[in-house]
Symmetry: C2
Subunit: 356 residues, 2 copies
């Protein structure tokens, strides 16, 4: 088998990306190619995808239901069974065309089918572009516990084409911003200042910011692929963010939150806790909160909601020996990992979020 | 975390093994330790296990139903959920105490829970000792298709104690012999001659042969961990063997075959095909058949049984572009991989097996 790709997991952009992909698939023409989409990406993205490929292919399209609620092992079983029926073998390639649910689930399905098929990620949501596409984490939820089952395997390549962003409803676009804001907070004041006032309609500037966000994530996961220390910073805002997302997913009374919407709240809470316990500047905290609330409408949390969210914290993957461990910041770009946080600090963070 | 283990995946034997394990667990005393067993190994092996550990531990025992029929994703979900409930975190360790079903499923569950917990294999069946324990393959069946879902991850260590073999019913002991016979056939005449006449009651000699079998497998998987070529030889007899096993598992009319019982038939068939298409010596073929039939009672295959078995071949993991590819032999120790085999050769192999 020829292979024009230098190494696994590299990110290619726009028209160069399509050339690299077309080339690669051309070399693999003995392989069966499967496209994994969800109902939305099939409808809005697959035509553009086929148009951009410079060669003709026989492709099998597999479609899953859209939404986080379907990011589970039952959906995996459906896809595994379909792959089996359609004669996928170890030489087959799966192209995940979609948002984070498709790339996370598709990466896991590919990595575990016959002990590992090759896969390619083409993220179509902002969130998947700046976050899920880099670093090789994949997986599915277990009940309402997020990403509990998964492995780390690199895709053959990632193709980011910001044209796909035009297919997104506004809430989904904003959702991805949360991870970009996070990249600013954990990495550099300069990026934070640029991203916080971004105009998503300025396509050229926005694509630049996306590339920088990908570069920040790439730098971090390259230094610490197995999440021993530095990579944990990417979980900033995610400890409470995931718990909130899980709780809203499980609760009948709550709307389903997009990942970024939950993480945005988690960032405010983690930053308040950072101010209380590590002296993160109060002024910057207020700037963070103001910025986030300008993109993400405030959610209501009753006392019993907060209790329920805290219960979900025990499932966080960073925990050790039953202790819930947070990533916190002393200032923008100055992180501290494995911080224990008391429940009363969590309550007062929710209080701050409510009254800001 | 201290770590007395030099590298992952090493096999330790008997009393040295217990010392190494006790030491290792002592160093990891901040970790939660889980033991995965099935009903049988819990009953027959766990007491001995606890006795041999030189230190006191708080262990959580997780027990699954015994048998290949439970080596599936639903059992994984039960174990994942239990791990979640019992607070397993990334620092936890799973000890798989059991036969191939427990080590295969336990390895997969551990490798995918929170994207990877450490695990240790303590095989209690002969089959698991000489085969499943080495090389890091793990996984579960998808419907009746064997090992369709899985990954390759090395355990922290493997502990082989032949005392466990005394707990095995005779059929399970014999079942493991099939893989040892296979190791002889693909590797060396010398080992074949010794293993074919083995007296399993001669404990000292038998343990020697087990160690050599493990060494043969180890040598092969070290040279070709990702099964690009040489490692495929370990599938000798497995292409038809797996298909037979799957068919018997699915059929109401057929008894459930142990893995080794199915592989034993597969070895006779593959050797007959080797004689027909690569000139494997007829005299050695008859020797192979005689040896295997002395351990494994002959099964009946009607014409429709054979048709059904052939249908299962399309799921074989070695297949490429819809072609079923066999490992065949020109002589003992002289293999040829990726051989296409016609259905008529398969029918005549079954004919030979029936009439020998």
């Amino acid at each position: 088998m020829e292979n024009s790709l230098k190494e696994k997991g590299l990110v290619y952009y726009s028209s160069l990306g399509w050339k690299v992909l077309s080339n690669y698939l051309y070399e693999q023409k003995d392989s069966k190619i499967f496209i994994l989409t969800d109902e939305n990406t099939k409808r809005y993205c697959s035509e553009y995808f086929l148009e951009k490929l410079c060669i003709e292919f026989k492709l099998e399209v597999l479609t899953i239901s859209a939404g986080e609620a379907f990011k589970n092992i039952f959906t995996c079983m459906n896809v595994w069974n379909t792959l089996s029926e359609k004669g996928a073998d170890r030489n087959s390639i799966i192209i995940n065309l979609g948002g984070g649910v498709v790339t996370d689930l598709g990466g896991f399905v590919a990595s575990t089918f016959k002990r590992g098929l090759r896969f390619i990620n083409i993220p179509t949501s902002l969130l998947a572009m700046v976050d899920a596409s880099v670093g090789g984490k994949n997986g599915v939820d277990l009940g309402s516990i997020k990403n509990q089952i998964g492995v780390i395997t690199l895709p053959e390549m990632v193709l980011i084409d910001t044209e796909f962003l035009k297919t997104l409803p506004k809430a989904h676009l904003t959702s991805g911003l949360a991870e970009m804001l996070k990249h600013g907070l954990i990495h550099s004041k300069k990026y934070w200042e640029r991203i916080k006032g971004v105009n998503v309609l300025d396509e050229v500037e926005f694509e630049k910011l996306i590339r920088e966000s990908v570069d920040i994530k790439k730098e971090i996961v390259t230094k610490d692929p197995l999440e021993k220390n530095l990579r944990k910073t990417l979980n900033y805002g995610h400890t409470l963010g995931h718990a909130i997302e899980s709780y809203f997913l499980e609760s009948d009374q709550k709307p389903e939150l997009l990942h970024g919407e939950a993480v945005a709240i988690g960032i405010i809470l983690a930053t308040h806790i950072s101010t209380e316990s590590l002296g993160f500047p109060k002024k910057t905290l207020d700037d963070v909160t103001r910025t986030i609330l300008s993109y993400f409408p405030r959610q209501n949390f009753s006392k019993s909601d907060i209790e329920a969210v805290i219960k979900f914290l025990v499932f966080d993957k960073k925990n050790r020996n039953g202790k819930v461990l947070f990533v916190l910041l002393e200032d923008i770009g100055q992180y501290k990992i494995d911080c224990e946080v008391s429940n009363s600090l969590i309550y007062s963070a929710f209080e701050y979020y409510k009254n800001f």
